[in-house]
Symmetry: C2
Subunit: 140 residues, 2 copies
């Protein structure tokens, strides 16, 4: 087992500019898309992104919160998958905490215009891929 | 709609050294992992990889063939997701077609040792992500 899993994986994650998030759609197919890096990470337990409210993933996660996220360290062919649930955050106070005025360019109507949406992933367990081997772990 | 979808996406796909393949596990969670580029691609309809028979994805696809694959062009923040089904190819003749002796290093017992496994993805439809927009398409 990795000596310090949170540090090892946290540092792998922080070096990636892209993250991959997956959902299960209404027909039972997995759906994966690239996102920018999460805007906040708390250990390897919770991750936040902002996105457009009309995106397909919002509908999919509302219908089925089961999710996985994946970070790929291509250079060393290492990767980590975390499995858990994705939550849509609607609360005004939380949105305020994450909002910055530069987002106006991306979200019609600004912070409260209905387009700006926060999603929060909470991990339950994961799998670390390194050197063509993999290792499962739980997350407290 | 893209003028020539097969050419546009085929060329995006061929430039990536890594591909992401997703399954749905026995608990209904999406599972995603990085793979090397497919060893064969036929248009944007079928894709082949080789992998170890004991890998979690083999078990998952046997149980539930619903799959998606994703290719990310990080440089231009474009990506394509293809949805369809993943099939495990057991046929000796097909394996022979794909086998090369360099694989001995990765697969215990060689081509027929039981470890070397081919998987074939067949796409039904997809989604192209570019410039923070996305577009769905069907695949004939």
């Amino acid at each position: 087992m990795m000596r310090d899993i949170v540090q090892t994986l946290g540092s792998l994650i922080d070096r990636q500019s892209v993250s991959f998030i997956s959902s299960v759609d209404e027909s039972g197919f997995p759906n994966t898309r690239a996102m920018l890096a999460p805007i906040r990470r708390e250990g390897i337990k919770t991750f936040y992104w902002h996105t457009n409210n009309a995106s397909a993933k919002i509908k999919q996660y509302k219908n089925n919160p089961k999710a996985c996220i994946y970070f790929c360290d291509k250079r060393f062919f290492r990767g980590v998958m975390l499995k858990g649930t994705m939550q849509i955050l609607e609360d005004h106070e939380i949105k305020k905490e994450f909002w910055n005025d530069g987002f106006d360019a991306y979200y019609k109507g600004g912070m409260d215009g209905g387009d700006f949406t926060l999603i929060k992933f909470t991990a339950q367990n994961g799998r670390y891929y390194t050197n063509f081997h993999s290792e499962d772990f739980n997350i407290q």
